[in-house]
């Protein structure tokens, strides 16, 4: 068997039962792994009657057929669950080493169900699978927990939650290898609700590659392309993802002060260039990654990985803060507490606006860098005003009667691109199955970076086609699982051929994209089953009604409605966004026709 290990590990924390099941190979070929396989398994496991924070929810950790093979960036893995933040289907994926190491334990997936009566951690090693007491670890932060459990990048890898997950913050992340995160949508809270503190993996089995000759050629060609692309060979390695700050600001699409503006007058202060000049210690990379966008930064107070672009924006422009040291410290703290930095930053920004309007009793104001760290602490421990912020911006803003001031879609805070200055990005956010997400399709590439070619970011007609293609491609890449930055230098045709070489099953480029389309439609069905409707495919009113006040995108709102209509038709869905029978039959999803009906 090439690529897959052929086994799923199933752990019931209520009963302590541990079982090993064969991987359904037909399912694996249709959904590959990662996000796709996770969504397919979740469909059977967690129905609409299940509260995300109840013991009936499950956590499904999956790798993909590329994970651990040594193909460029094949370090990633995924977690799937029902989101406690949004109530939607959720997957989040992460890099580092843990995914590769988990694959080496001989499993393609791990399903964690039930709830332990007391804190535990799970250890998966060649000596067996064991549920161990974690009462001594409960309450500890991520770095300490990771260290205590013996993190060793190439041999033993730790995944855990911090205080935010223990305290069931709905924006809590699961952290792996110390500072990498499965961040979005609150998977850390699901782990906390199960009294599961950590999962430690040590493996020895390597996935098989069936066509070594073709695989070597694909490694060679992929490396060549990644070297040739200035983005993957120069910009990301030199400045990290924060290289986007000046680029996005220059086109007038950098959300500022809770999306009241689209350019930040202090963008240069929080740019990748400034980060490199003042705070960079060194570059690092995930396993098997030749890009190396990760950086270690240091201030007078902290040293740690990051910050990423989205994080720098969330604690920076979004909060009107230009103190990069404070942003780095907030990032390090947030990672140690185990919280999603995008949602945390954007929730603080929302609280700043609410406070300025007199709707929230707090000292938070735009620009108050000194309040970032204490607010994050308060959120993770649900103390003081933090208790109001711990479950994200939508719950906070709704509580004070202004849900419109939560810059979120389906309850998930929007990332660092203003949909008014990038029309397609708005459609991407509005239709994203896990809520507003920039990783569900690379419209940044098309609308700003010119990858593969630049398109007009203000054009409305035809945008649906781009969004759909990139959503499908992203779902496929998330199912392989590899890093999307690879896709900034290398097209899907390479991934399809690498997959063919590894598995011995011929996947053309179109076949791979079709897998992504199947995953996307299954996720859509999941959300429909949960009660989501067309009305949830929208953007905050501010982005639809308030024009950008100045800069290169001045005067623009997002023209979502015509794009959405075109999108539904092009997806093969009806006018309410429900997949048509013909589309479900085409994708092999017809057995769930009654959900669409």
């Amino acid at each position: 068997m090439g690529g897959w290990m052929g086994k799923i590990l199933d752990v019931n924390l209520t009963s302590g039962e541990i079982t090993i099941k064969p991987l359904d190979m037909e399912m694996a070929q249709q959904y590959l792994g990662g996000r796709g396989l996770g969504a397919r398994l979740l469909w059977d496991e967690v129905g609409p009657d299940v509260d995300p924070l109840s013991e009936r929810n499950v956590l499904i950790f999956t790798t993909g057929p590329l994970t651990g093979t040594g193909y460029q960036t094949s370090n990633r893995f995924s977690v799937s669950t029902k989101s406690p933040l949004t109530g939607t289907v959720l997957d989040a994926n992460s890099g580092g080493y843990w995914g590769m190491q988990f694959k080496r334990t001989g499993f393609d997936g791990l399903i964690v169900r039930g709830k332990s009566p007391s804190p535990v951690y799970l250890e998966i090693t060649p000596a067996g699978v064991h549920i161990k007491d974690a009462s001594g670890l409960w309450g500890k932060r991520v770095r300490e927990t990771t260290s205590l459990l013996g993190q060793n990048n190439n041999r033993r890898n730790v995944l855990c939650i911090g205080p935010a997950g223990e305290n069931l913050s709905r924006i809590a992340a699961i952290m792996n290898d110390g500072e990498r995160s499965l961040a979005r949508g609150g998977p850390g809270a699901v782990m906390g609700s199960k009294n599961l503190k950590a999962i430690v993996v040590e493996g020895k089995d390597r996935p098989e590659v069936l066509d070594q000759e073709l695989f070597k050629f694909m490694l060679y060609e992929t490396r060549k392309l990644l070297k040739a692309s200035p983005l993957t060979s120069q910009a990301l390695p030199e400045f990290g993802t924060v290289v986007m700050m000046n680029i996005v600001n220059a086109v007038g699409a950098l959300p500022t002060r809770n999306f009241r503006q689209a350019q930040f007058e202090h963008a240069e202060d929080i740019s990748g260039e400034t980060l490199k000049e003042k705070y960079l210690v060194k570059n690092t990379a995930c396993w098997a990654c030749p890009i190396g966008c990760t950086r270690v930064s240091k201030t007078d107070k902290v040293e740690g990985e990051g910050p990423e672009y989205e994080t720098t924006w969330a604690f920076g422009a979004q909060c009107g803060i230009n103190d990069l040291a404070a942003i780095i410290e907030a990032n390090t703290l947030c990672n140690d507490l185990g919280m999603d930095t995008i949602s945390a930053g954007s929730t603080i920004a929302c609280a700043m606006e609410l406070s300025e309007l007199g709707l929230l009793d707090s000292d938070l104001r735009f620009g108050r860098a000194d309040l970032l760290a204490p607010t994050l602490e308060a959120m993770a421990y649900r103390r003081d005003v933090g208790a109001e912020l711990a479950d994200g911006s939508l719950r906070l803003a709704t509580k004070v009667g202004r849900p419109d001031l939560s810059m979120s879609v389906k309850g998930l805070e929007m990332p660092a691109y203003d949909p008014r200055g990038m029309q397609g990005q708005g459609l991407l956010y509005a239709t994203s199955n896990r809520g507003a997400c920039h990783m569900r399709g690379n419209m940044l590439g098309l609308e700003v970076l010119g990858l593969p070619k630049l398109i007009d970011r203000f054009q409305v007609q035809g945008k649906s086609s781009y969004v759909i293609l990139h959503q499908n491609a992203a779902a496929a890449i998330d199912s392989l699982v590899i890093c999307k930055f690879t896709n900034m230098g290398v097209a899907e045709e390479y991934f399809a051929r690498a997959l063919s070489a590894i598995t011995g099953i011929k996947y053309a480029t179109g076949d791979l994209i079709r897998v992504g389309e199947r995953v996307w439609n299954l996720e859509r069905l999941y959300n429909l089953r949960e009660g989501f409707t067309r009305a949830d495919d929208t953007l905050p009113p501010r982005l639809l009604q308030e024009a950008i006040p100045d800069g290169p995108s001045k005067g623009w709102v997002n023209h979502l409605e015509p794009m959405l209509k075109e999108y539904y038709r092009a997806r093969g869905w009806d006018e309410n966004g429900v997949p048509l029978r013909t589309k479900l039959e085409e994708l092999g999803l017809s057995e769930w026709m009654e959900v669409a009906a």
């Binding site: 054009q459 035809g462 086609s465 293609l469 499908n472 480029t509 179109g510 075109e566």
Partner: protein, 203 residues
């Protein structure tokens, strides 16, 4: 109503195809996918001199009155859109590439640019090389795995996310074939300069 920006894209690529010698005065056709619609060149219009009324919009899955005006290759374009991830198609008649297609089943570039971008271009044969379902199906099959293919003796079909991208593959192929022709004229032993070049034939 077709967005003015889309009309401009068609004009630019159409003009460039003609001036680059990739089509005759009335040859070739280009299209884009817009949701469940297709915008394609009008039948008989000159790509190098497109007017707003030369862009025809019609359904991707369903016929409407637009089909009466659309390019004769509409069926091929539709089939490709339905079966591949393509969002744009450029069909043209690159002369050197057509010449090579007459004698081989695949074109494996020897120059650096095309080796890098295309690796290999399959050549497919169809007796009625225009407007038939057989041709459309063969093209779509090949384009699920390749971004440009040659129809023997007829021309190239390239797909992309934009017209610009599909045009890029088209000119890259033609440039590569012209280089190969010059190399044949020079008629000296080929010195391999590429690593793992044996892999291209397996692409």
């Amino acid at each position: 109503m077709i967005d003015e920006r889309i009309y401009e894209q068609f004009c630019e690529i159409g003009r460039d195809l003609y001036t680059a010698g990739m089509i005759s005065s009335h040859g070739g056709n280009i299209s884009i996918r817009v949701g469940d619609r297709v915008i394609i060149k009008r039948r008989g219009a000159q790509l190098g001199r497109l007017k707003p009324h030369d862009l025809i919009e019609t359904g991707l899955f369903k016929n409407d009155s637009g089909v009466a005006l659309a390019s004769t290759e509409l069926l091929a374009h539709r089939t490709i859109y339905m079966r591949t991830p393509a969002l744009a198609i450029v069909h043209c008649h690159p002369r050197a590439a057509i010449a090579f297609s007459l004698s081989r089943d695949e074109i494996v570039p020897i120059d650096n640019e095309a080796s890098y971008l295309l690796k290999k271009v399959p050549v497919i044969t169809e007796e009625f090389a225009s407007g038939t379902p057989e041709m459309a199906n063969k093209l779509a099959d090949a384009l699920t795995a390749y971004k440009i293919v040659m129809l023997r003796g007829h021309g190239s079909f390239a797909i992309g996310q934009t017209l610009d991208e599909a045009f890029h593959w088209s000119t890259t192929l033609e440039e590569s074939c012209q280089i190969a022709l010059w190399a044949k004229l020079i008629n000296e032993p080929f010195i391999e300069y590429r690593g793992m070049s044996q892999g291209y034939t397996r692409w």
